[in-house]
Every structure is written in C-alpha cells, then in structure tokens.
Amino acid sequence: MANNHNSTNPKVDLIYRKKRNAEEMKQQVVTFSMMIFLTIVAFIAVGYDGIGEWFKVPFILTLAVIQVIFQLYYFMHMKHKGHEASALFLFSGVFVAVLTVLAFMTIIWW
Amino acid sequence: MRKRLTKWRLLSLFTALTLVLAGCGEPFLSTLQPAGEVADMQYDLMVLSTLIMVVVIAVVTVIFIYVVVKFRRRKGEENNIPVQVEGNHKLEIIWTVIPILLLIILTVPVISATFKLGEVDAMADENRNPDEEIVVNVTANLYWWEFEYPDYGVVTSQELIVPTDEKVYFNLASKQNEVKHSFWIPSIGGKMDTNVEGNYATGENLNKMWLKFDSKRADQAGEYFYGKCAELCGPSHALMDFKVKAVSREEFDKWIADMQNTEPSATTDLAQQGEQLFEEKGCISCHAVTPKDERPSAARTAPSLANFGERSKIAGFMDHNEESLKNWLKDPEKYKPGNKMTNTYPKLNDQELDALTEYLMGLKVSNN
C-alpha cells in the first residue's frame, strides 16, 4: 500500500533523491530571498512619500498575495502532487474569506 | 393507510382554508390589506410570488399524487424489479430551465421595487419643502417610541401623526447605548431596523425609509393604524406597540400649529396639585410636558406627555382611561416588564394618583 518501494535499487534511488531534495532546497532559498525582497519593497513603498495612496494600497496588497503564493506553493509544497484536495479546501476557504472581507469593507456601514 | 392519509390531509387543509377565508386580518394591521403606496408595492410582490409558488406547488403535487397512487406496490408485485432508469437529459433540462424562467419573472419587479423603496435622497435635499414632504425622526427606546418633526421643532411620543397622500420620510435610530428595535406599520409598509449606531447628534448611520398613507383607505381602517416593534428587544418587546393617525394635510398642519403654540396647563385644582406632584416626585426629570422639548435627543429618557390627554393608548397598548393610568402609575412593572420607569420614583398614594391622573389626562394641545 505504502509507496515506499519505488525503485529496485535503494542505493541509486537514494542518491537521486538526495540530489532532488538538495535542488529543491536551493529553490526554497531563492524563494526566501524573493519574499524578503518583496517585504522590503512593501515597507519602502509605504515609507516613501512620493506616491499616492491610491497606488500604495493595491500595490502592497499585490506584493502580499505574491509572497503568500510563494509560501503556499514552495514552502508548503503545494506545487507537489498529492495536494489536490488540500488545494480545493484551501481555496474554498480563501473564497469564503474574500467574500467576508469584501462584505465587511462595503456593507457594514456606508 | 393511504386513504386515511389523504382524508386527514384534506381535513387539515380545509380547516386552514376556512380560517383564511374568514378574512385577510384586521384592516388596521394586516399586510394583506395595504393602505399606502409602499404596502401596495409589497402586496403586489407578495401576490405575484404567491402565484408563482402556487404554480410550483401545484405541479409538484400533481406529479406527486400521480406517482404515489400509480406506482404503489400492489399484491403480487413483490418480486417485480422496475427498470433502473439512470436519468433523462431532456427532463433534467426542462426542470432546470423552467424554474429559472419563473425566477426571472420574479426578480425583475423585485429589483425595481428594492430601488424604488430605497429612494430617500430627497431627505437630504436642501430645497425640500416640508409642507409637501415631511421628515420624521424616529427614536426607538426601551419600550417606547419617540417621533420628532425636525421641520417644525415638535416632539411627540407613542403616537405618530402624519399627513395622508404624500411621501413621509423617516430617519430611524435607537436610543444611544440601548438596544436595537424595528419600526413597522404593517398595513402601510415594511419594516426597518432602528440601529443603535444611528446618531441624531452627528446625523451618522441613520436608517432611512419612506411611506405613504392613503387617505381613503385610512378612513376605512378606523381611527388609527397599529405600529409594532419587530425586533426582539427584551421582555416587553411584545408590548412595544405604537399607533399611527393618518390625517389630512390641513388637520396635520393644524396639529403642528397646536403643538408649536399651545402650552398645556393645569386648570382644575386637582390638576394643579397633580402638576406640583409631577415636579415633586421627579417625573419632570424624565418626562417633558411641553410639545417643544428642547433637550437633545439623548437626554429625552421618557415619553413626552405634552399631548397625553389626547392619546388613544397608555404606554402604547393599554386602554386610555383613568383606571389603567392609575394602574400604570402604581406598578408599571406589572404591565410592561423591564420598562425603564419602574422604581425611579417614590410610591404614590391614592390621593396622589387621583391628582396626577387629573393632571395628565388634562394635558392637551388642541383647543377644542
């Protein structure tokens, strides 16, 4: 049942796997640098007086969303397979979340 | 078994039907006997939607009865195995599309009515002529109603007086730091909540609506319409009634003039005694007796009694006579549990009750 016999020669398999894991770890570090970068940009954008609010808010929100996608797909491995159900339920949650936030920003009071 | 079932069903349907045919409720309080433009609009929607629903129910019931009768398992059929039908696309499309069409028929008037009923921009219009379109500020308190006519500087309570055949606009709010209520005059139009966030001092967060009172049908309905609180607000929610008198524009103007110009005064000795008691016992600290209550909305902690003698009910629902007034003053808790007057004043003896009653019943603004 368990998928712990995916190769006939465990040694070869092991080397291959280690390599793959190391590669993925490299990606993770790149991801991390991107996230730090995005964060710094967001903080600078807010601190900088030259740009208007109409631009800042959607801009930093976009940065946040990109960063979260990084977290989800790389750090939380959603890009790997076997995450179909996870993704379905996470995005359903996001759907309800967006509706809620939208409603509270528009029709709580006018 | 089955026969008995249908018989029972018919019977209960029949009892229900006779009850319905017995009437559409009372004209002063039933949504089925609308007496104004708003209620008319809502009534029409109710009729339209009911018709659609009757069609739906009829279709379902016909199929249902046919199936249940036709396909019951008879003797000797125990081992029959019916054809295992998987589905039928044509049928499934039909019963998806037809409901959609029915709903479209319903949504169009629903949307248009929603926006029509939401037309309150005129309230903020600086050029609004109060002699054609008045505004009433409604404040819902535990468990009484206050109506302020900002155009005229008049405040009254428990009884709403409005001119017929013209748009009347309402601002709605609850007393600050109290609880939410809902303002409803069933035969004139639907309800709207009086939220605690509504603030007359700043003009923020007020709910707004309009109503129209039809003169002819108001006459037929009787002396007044019933108004109700339609949001659970505590023990006496059930008793938080108010009355609505819809009068012609002339009468209304006259009433306003009376309210603006007359200071009710105690005439008889007993009444003057009552007036004095009214001060000594501290009633005056809450109740206003002049129609022009200058205190800010938040300070008006009790119904204005300026025209108490002309009211048709006491505390919104008790008969307007000396006896029930005395009962009320003796023990308001017994009649309106949880009200805000209980225990705020010293006990009154019979003599004091007589005097207060005489005084209060004499508080009138109209000259005749």
Binding site: A2, V46, E53, V57, V96, I108 | -
Partner: protein
Amino acid sequence: MAHVEEKLTAENFPASPEKATLEGKNKFLGFWLFLGGETVLFASLFATFLALKDSAAGGPTTQEIFDLPLVFAATMLLLTSSLTSVYAMYHMKNFNFAKMQLWLIITVLLGLAFLILEIYEFTHYVHEYHFTITGSALGSSFYTLVGTHGLHVTFGLCWIVTLIVRNARRGLSLYNAPKYYTASLYWHFIDVVWVFIFTVVYLMGMVG
C-alpha cells in the same frame, strides 16, 4: 496497512515520510482542511478589523502609534523562521534527524524572538499611547486580530518544542514524521497570516 517493523535507514526511508502511512495521510489531509477553516477564522478577524479601523472613538489612531522599524524586524524574524523550518523538513526527507532537530530549535528561537517583540510592542502601545483593547473598537479589533495571531505563534512554539523534546531520544519514525510535517505546515501558515497582518494592519494602517 503494512505494519513496518523493519529498522528505518536512509535507504528505506520513504520519499514522502509524512504520507507513508494511512495515519500520516489522514493527518496530512486533515491538517490542510483545518488550515482551510483557519483561513475563514482569520478572515473574519481581518474583516472585523477593516470594518472598525477608523473607529478610534477619540483615542489614538493607527497612524499615530505604529512603529514601522519594529514591525519590520518582527517580520524578518518570522519570515526567516519559515525558511529554517523548511530546512528542518529538508533534513527530515534525507532522514537526518539531528540536523532536523537543530533547525527546528533555530526556528523556535526565532519564533520566540518574534513573540517577545510583539509583547514589547503591545506594552509600548498601552503605556505610551494608552491604546488599549477596551478603549475603542479599533483597539479591540487590533489587539484581537494581532493577539490571535500571537496565540497561534505561542501554540506553534509549544507544539514544536514538545515534538523536539519528546522525540529527542526516539529518533525519526513514520509515526512521528507526519507530526513534524504538520507542525511545520502550521508554522508556515502562521507566517502567511503575518504577511497579511503586516500588509493590511500595519502598512495600510500607516497609509491611512
């Protein structure tokens, strides 16, 4: 379910240890679903904050009190701790228990630092500006949102510490690998929430 009695080695250790057993699979999925629910929970708190962000009731507003450098430092701490927990999972997949524990300890330390900053920040607001949870609707919604996140951090720390301590002697197995894995998922999720907190609460709060 094959009842694995054979000794685990780097060779026979499965590629996805968190999903190698049925229990593991269930935990893995159940935890993701839980995160779906948490999303709605935090959304409700965010929504409440957004609805009340201008309700200072005469008290201090967010523009007046927020201290961006502090928030920036906190953000860096938490983001980095997310990376360190990725390292831990990396070593888990390579069946390197000691390194995994080490990276988790680093994660915990970073998380702890974040928490201390947050507590300092709160006391600072209260003492410096009299910005309290009872003073205004803004205060209530701010402290509740950020505080709920803080509680999650605290819970996450306790969880990871328990795992580290408890398994220190037993080593990695297919029984506890899913537990480590879900704990790290939880930690990332806390980070995800924080990304929105620093953006929506702090940065947008500065913008106005």
